[in-house]
């Protein structure tokens, strides 16, 4: 066998050099492709594959030519993910495997054991361990992140890349059962039935990789966010938003198609917008008090009473409403026991604000701008008819798929749930929304689309954050999180500080300090994120490096000792 062509080729040094050279090319191209493909896709297509496809090479080529002044159009996520692909270059797994085979074959062919070669043997065993260890890490490790605000307590981390449709129901007073259907399966399959799901069957109506559920009210809010404000005051078009929301809420049946919605917006502009005093004040409350300001509620209540006592219970024009408010101010001043001067000044200012609010509405502009805004959104019908989310959000606004590591895709899906052959309805689930309670198999089940969760055998509470910068600069010096770690089995809890290069290791999971939002001025959002790595193979690279180091030191010392002995003898 040693004389066969294949064996000679496998053991040749040329193959080693060629493989290492190709590896360098793959590393270069993979780095170039990252910008267009995103880190995860580039790693998957260049390093975690046997062959690199022509689309991935094109992504790298585009970036490389940019270095020389060319401006090619970047590939779209759709092209990167779904275009037909042809393998054109060896990938990381193939090169790693060939290198490994080359190394082992060469040993098999040439190696003869002597003590003087122990160092060389150890060095190569270490390299083999590193190669195999990297493969095992790729295959077996799971990475996720755990984000906590100060005081938060969690026993799970969330996947960077994967989502799940989770069905959580109560098993008994101490435990819940989770059934998890991965997002990629919802995206790929139209019908999902599995023994794990029991009698439950999912019929996927549609899956949006990244999207926002939209309804008349959320669209109105999004429109309002886009309107410019002048000196902190909302524009007239923005001020009409709350009135539109109230108008849309009262529609029965609510609009289910975009055509209905546009008709509704037109109606809103066409109808005589005379409203009762209570309606005017309700809109004002929502606008200025966000529905919860008690002072505004109290004053608007008194204005409503005042207008009612004047017999003006019917609809009022904006100007009539403003005049009524002003009359109320005059009435306040001339009461038997008028409020003291400061209170009166504050009340007058508030009531004048109500009056100005009523007069400043601009429906024409609102209708024109809002219709155009809705048109731009290119809304798609959700196709769902059951559940709170489907009722509030009849449409989905599809967003471009993000490949960047700095943002994540928030999918939306419309799924018909079938229990024991009986349809429970078609529900809309979104990674942006909280869970919906649905009765499945006689059990109240919370169903939500969320980042895939990895549960751990501990509860972690964030106690304190420390964020230090080098003096006089914005360069971070130290991120540190003080956490309380409580074992799930009721064992003794302990306080652990996690900071750079000082992770927490717990039952095979490693919690690294990852990100931090430590703005002292925003107590509510002070948060810390940990990268959680579950890697049963984590010791292999350390062992590999130790063995390589031992081999090199042994070989060097063997030569050195031999050399010194020879000199002494001479």
């Amino acid at each position: 066998m040693r004389n066969t062509k294949l064996f000679k080729a496998l053991t040749s040094l040329k193959l080693t050099v060629t493989t290492l050279s190709l590896s360098m090319v793959v590393v270069f191209l993979g780095t170039m492709a990252q910008e267009n493909m995103g880190l995860k896709m580039a790693v998957d297509r260049y390093f975690k594959s046997f062959f690199i496809d022509h689309i991935a090479i094109e992504a790298a080529w585009n970036k490389t030519t940019q270095l020389f002044g060319s401006q090619p159009d970047p590939l779209t996520p759709e092209e990167l993910r779904n275009a037909k692909r042809w393998p054109v270059f060896p990938g990381g797994y193939l090169l790693g495997t060939v290198l490994l085979v080359n190394l082992l074959s060469a040993y098999y062919a040439r190696f003869k054991w002597t003590w003087s070669k122990l160092g060389i043997l150890a060095t190569h065993v270490g390299i083999v361990m590193l190669l195999v260890g990297q493969l095992l890490t790729d295959l077996l490790s799971v990475e996720s992140f755990l984000s906590l605000r100060v005081g938060d307590r969690k026993n799970y981390s969330e996947s960077f890349d994967y989502t799940e449709l989770a069905f959580v129901s109560s098993l008994n007073s101490k435990s819940n059962q989770v059934m998890s259907v991965p997002g990629w399966k919802l995206r790929q399959d139209k019908k999902i039935a599995d023994p794990t799901l029991g009698n439950l069957e999912l019929k996927v109506n549609q899956y949006w990789v990244n999207g926002v559920p939209q309804g008349p009210r959320s669209l109105a809010d999004a429109f309002k966010m886009r309107q410019p404000s002048h000196h902190g005051e909302d524009s007239p078009a923005a001020m009409a938003v709350d009135e539109f929301k109230a108008f849309a809420r009262d529609q029965d049946p609510p609009p289910r198609t975009v055509k209905d919605l546009k008709a509704l917006i037109d109606d809103f502009g066409r109808v005589d917008r005379r409203l009762t005093a209570a309606e005017w004040l309700g809109i004002y409350q929502n606008q200025r008090g966000q529905g919860g300001d008690f002072v505004i509620r109290m004053i608007t209540g008194q204005i409503a009473e005042f207008i009612a006592t004047r017999g003006k219970e019917g609809p009022l024009t904006p100007r009539e409403m403003a005049n009524e408010c002003r009359r109320f101010v005059e009435a306040l001043k001339h009461r038997e026991n008028p409020p003291d001067e400061n209170v009166l000044r504050n009340l007058t200012s508030l009531i004048n604000d109500v009056a100005a609010f009523c007069q400043q509405r601009d429906m024409t502009r609102f209708v024109r701008d809002f219709s155009a805004f809705v048109e731009d959104k290119k809304l798609q019908p959700s196709g769902a008819d059951s559940g709170l989310i489907a009722k509030r959000y009849p449409w989905v606004e599809e967003s471009p798929e993000s490949l960047s590591m700095d943002s994540r895709n928030l999918p939306v899906t419309s799924v018909e749930l079938v229990d024991n052959g009986k349809s429970l309805g078609t529900y809309l689930f979104s990674a942006r929304m909280i869970s919906q309670e649905i009765e499945i198999g006689g059990k109240d089940t919370k169903v939500s689309l969320r980042p895939k969760r990895h549960y751990h055998n501990l509860y972690m509470t964030l106690i304190k954050l420390q964020f230090e910068k080098y003096r006089g600069t914005d360069i971070p010096k130290n991120f540190e999180s003080r956490t309380l770690v409580e074992p799930s089995n009721g064992g003794a809890s302990r306080v652990v500080d996690i900071y750079m290069n000082h992770p927490l290791r717990y039952e095979g999971d490693t919690f690294y300090q990852y990100q931090m939002d430590s703005d002292q001025m925003r107590q509510a959002s002070r948060s810390s994120a940990f990268q959680v790595v579950e890697n049963p193979n984590w010791l292999t690279p350390y062992l590999g490096c130790l063995i390589v180091a031992f081999g090199l030191v042994y070989q060097f010392m063997a030569h050195l000792v031999g050399f010194v002995k020879k000199r002494k003898a001479a």
Binding site: L140, V150, Q177, S180, K185, F294, Y455, T461, S488
Partner: protein, 173 residues
């Protein structure tokens, strides 16, 4: 070719196949158990939090809102201290500041939440709504954090639901 050589290449081939076939480590459909969190009392509905609150519930009787809110806020260290926080709650009900022995007289211990847990129960008129209101507040220092549980609303309704609140905060973390 010698049999030993076949073995050698077979091992390598198997290794490659293992790598190839297991390269796809996507999550699959699965079912598993997790520890259950204690559910809130019946009629407690989660609401939008305000400021640094961790969670906020509104208490409903059927479809009717009782006007009661239950919130928990967790702050670093002593969260400003017992006295300023009690006086802040009193201020929200239009009551004056108290300190020393007067303050201690208004505090009750809550042994089930630890020896440092203190409860205050105050009645007054809300400075925002100008309505009669009552606040039951429990302050619990716990591992370098302080937990502020607050239960407030119309006095008559609050009395009906107070036992639920005190029972729930034993498990509310």
């Amino acid at each position: 070719m010698h049999r030993r050589h076949y073995k050698f290449f077979n091992v390598i081939l198997l290794g490659c196949c293992f790598g190839f076939f297991t390269a796809c480590n996507k999550p699959q459909i699965e079912a598993y158990g997790i520890p259950a969190e204690p559910p809130p009392p019946e009629g407690w509905v989660e609401m939008q939090t305000i400021g640094p609150e961790k969670i906020r519930y509104g208490v409903f009787e059927g479809d009717d809102y009782t006007g009661i809110t239950a919130t928990v806020t967790v702050l670093e260290g002593d969260g400003g201290g017992l006295e300023p926080n009690i006086n802040r709650w009193r201020g929200q009900l239009g009551l004056g500041k108290i300190e020393g022995a007067d303050l201690n007289a208004t505090l009750e211990e809550v042994p089930s939440l630890g020896k440092d847990a203190r409860m205050v129960d105050v009645n007054g008129t809300s400075v925002r709504s100008f309505r009669e209101s009552r606040t039951v507040g429990v302050i619990v220092p716990r591992t370098e954090l302080t937990w502020f549980y607050k239960f407030s609303g119309p006095p008559a309704n609050l009395e009906v639901h107070k036992a639920d609140f005190l029972d729930f905060i034993q498990h509310w973390q």
